[in-house]
Amino acid sequence: MRSHPLFAPEPRNAIEIGGEVRVGVYVCHCGGNISEVVDVEKVARAAGEEHDVVVARDYTHMCSDLGQRLIADDIKEHDLEAIVVAACSPQFQGGTFMRVLETSGLNPHVLEMANIREHCSWVHGDDPEAATAKAESLTKMAIGKARLDEPLEKRTMPIGKRALVIGGGIAGIQSALDLGDAGFHVHLVEKTASIGGKMAQLSRTFPTEDCSACILSPKMADVPANPNIDLMTYTEVEKIDGYLGAFEVTVVKRPRYVDPQKCSACGLCEDTCPVSVPDEYEVGLTSRKAIYVPFGFAVPNTNVIDESVCLRLTRGGDVCGLCMKACPQDAISFDDKPERETFTVDVIVVATGYETFDAAEKAVYGYGRFENVVTALQMERMIVHAAEGAPIRPIKGRVAFIQCVGSRDEQVGNEYCSRVCCMYASKLSQLLKRSDPSRDVYVFYTDLRAFGKGFEEYYKRAQEAGVKFVRGRPAEFTEDPVTKKVTIKVEDTLSRKLIESEFDLVVLSVGMVPNPGTAKIAEMLKLTESPDGFLQEAHPKFRPVDTLTEGVFLAGTVQGPKDIPDTVAQASAAAARAIRLMNQGEYALSPVVAFVREDACDGCGACVDACPAEAIRIEGKLASISESACTGCGACLASCPKDALDLKGYTNDQLEAEVEAALEDAEPGTVVLVFADDMTGYRLADNVGTSRLPYASDSRIIGVPSGSRVTPKLALRALALGAGGVLVADSEEKSTPYVGSTRAMRAHAAETKRILEEEGVDPERVRSVEFVTVMLAKFAGQIDEMCALVRSLGPIPQEKRDALKERADGAVLVDQK
């Protein structure tokens, strides 16, 4: 019965012995989290007896000031050269202890942590003895590795102050302005002929009812006025390569056939143009000419020729050309060609926005077939023109708004709520009602959602105005062949009565769907979609505007349906996050990179093909590795016949030392070595610990940067040294930062299995599994399965182990893709 650690605050078990590398070991109680299961004193004592360990202590809270000071003092007093902290996960407290080393004048990378909490006390709580034994083993493994730790130099990458904002809607505009005002250079790329996006089409904004154009147009004007913003309209992103700090962007400017410098948008050309087509800005309610200005307050406010309909441009020769003759500035040239432009940026904000749901998909509503069925966006335009005293079409009599068109509807595959329709319907309906009380306005809804600031009050105002809200989703729409009025059949679900009435106008409150153009951008930037088809943020709570691609941020509805205030807030947040990165001036890279032992390399070049990051070139007779391109996955190591390649921080010797230590006092053939990649496998092991999910204690988790670091050689040696099995826990291909490493890892595993089969050893002893960090049960299950398997198989006979050792040296794998 030990006294509670808190009553024994004094450090104990200080042992002085000499060694070649002076290692200090610190075993943490974690205030009982560890010590209530693991006999920490015993662990410290055992560590103390290890070769090279000059001091080994256990203490209640190693991460506390006292604990940190303890280490710092020892480093000076015993001039330690390497430190082992047996405590929690390095992902959790690694940084703390690295700082301790740094402040004490040691290179932070001579620190090794034995994770005896998440990987031990928390998962083997039911068996303190086994837990203690495993803790000892884990500590010894860390010591074994620490002994061979080399100081690693800090690697950083410079980050400049250049940003790309894709999309010129209100989100893109806001991000661009924030970035520009903060003094960063911005390329704002907009696909259409003018910035402004959907907001430019809206009548008023809820709940304040400001005129949308009035509050937007000044912001639009600020864009070209901002010296830091390079505005590129009528331009599409064609290609993006590179990474944070060095994104290579290629854009294509579509020909306007009108010189913006000369054009004053006088409109003479439009008057002469014989071609008229539906006007996109007016959502097809009116028509425009082949040469046109997108809309009144367009930025840039110049004409553009729609080459898909212009007579001259479609038929060639010297057909038509009336506009050219009409232009006083002679700004028109039919010879414009697409211009390709390439530039480099450091960060990217994706603000490609949304599209409105295509109401025709809900065939039963009759959109596109019935004269008097329009979308809410069309209604926005109708209201604007009515307010300007030039109504596109009369709005009178009885009007019905149909909610959730394309939203919350599994029949069209959209489960989500579009979040704006309830409020814009409240807006449009009361605008109609207030401007002409004789209109009889109904809103047919399923659930009324007024969650935003001032929303509920605004909804109430609609009710005050006399708008009638009816809870029911209409299903039958019939157009009267003569009057063209539309009869709607709907249940008033509150009274359980059927309503079958005729309406003069039906407005479909269409929801938001992902902008089809976004998919292309997402592919270029390796961004993932969430189930609703919008882009996935890095973390729903703490990184809402980041993505998993470093240096790429999301602004506005590209990430999911939202209203204008939320869009603007997110746009500013994206800008702020981008600025945060750029202001650091540099970006810390992992010091873990591959390196060449020049004495051994003969420049055969096998590694060049093997490297998934294409970071290796042959210079002279030697392989040379670009440190900025090397991701440090370690895949190349497997390809070198001369064993000339190695990985800083995870050298062959270090990992073998860990393996040897792991097997040292274990019953032969029982231990399963779990090589866990830092992105997923290791975090997963931590999460399993945090949720106290028990698994077999025969397992030893060894951190590696990526699964591809586990070369066939390493795996075979591990078995030769007496491991019962090797489990590689790696990330799924799409969720690892080590490009191509997952495929390399698979190749390694396959090769290893092949060799095992040849040697008559059960290939199931080596297994590779791809996880995502939520697969807790699967992870624990795989470990148990593997441990059970190797126990049932029994130890590998000595002669076979010798054979495997032989094969390990020859195990070279070039083709890993």
Partner: protein, 134 residues
């Protein structure tokens, strides 16, 4: 005075039974009324299809006494429109089966007027007897 609904464990059992029989997750019904507005027979019904779903959700036993499920023509109009992807015709069938399996038929074959039997095509008779007798 408003009618009271008792929430009982029998009610839960009824919901579970219908859910099992129909294979439809009845609690997912959003009560939007699409089914009602889509139903060709609704004019004849005493409770609307969406109300039927509600009664099952709340496990109200008197749902078994309503006419609605017997009037369902299995036309699947609601099925192809339900925003929650529920198949109401299966729920109606489950409700019918609960009664039919007690050997209580909805129509007495012998009561059908001879003149009707004289003109009804087999397809009508077969279908009706499949749906309305056990």
């Amino acid at each position: 005075m408003a009618e009271k609904i008792a929430i009982t464990s029998e009610g839960v059992a009824l919901l579970d039974r219908i859910t099992k029989l129909s294979g439809e997750k009845i609690t997912m019904c959003d009560q939007c009324g699409t089914c009602t507005a889509s139903c060709p027979m609704v004019a004849e019904m005493d409770v609307t299809p969406s109300q039927l779903m509600r009664m099952v959700q709340l496990g109200q036993n008197d749902v078994l006494d309503t006419k609605t499920m017997w009037l369902c023509a299995s036309c699947f109009a609601c099925t192809v429109r339900c925003p929650r992807g529920l198949d109401l015709s299966k729920v109606a069938e489950a409700l019918r089966q609960i009664t039919l399996r007690k050997a209580i038929d909805r129509i007495d074959v012998r009561e059908i007027p001879e003149d009707d039997l004289d003109e009804l095509p087999q397809i009508a008779l077969v279908a009706a007897l499949r749906k309305l007798t056990g």
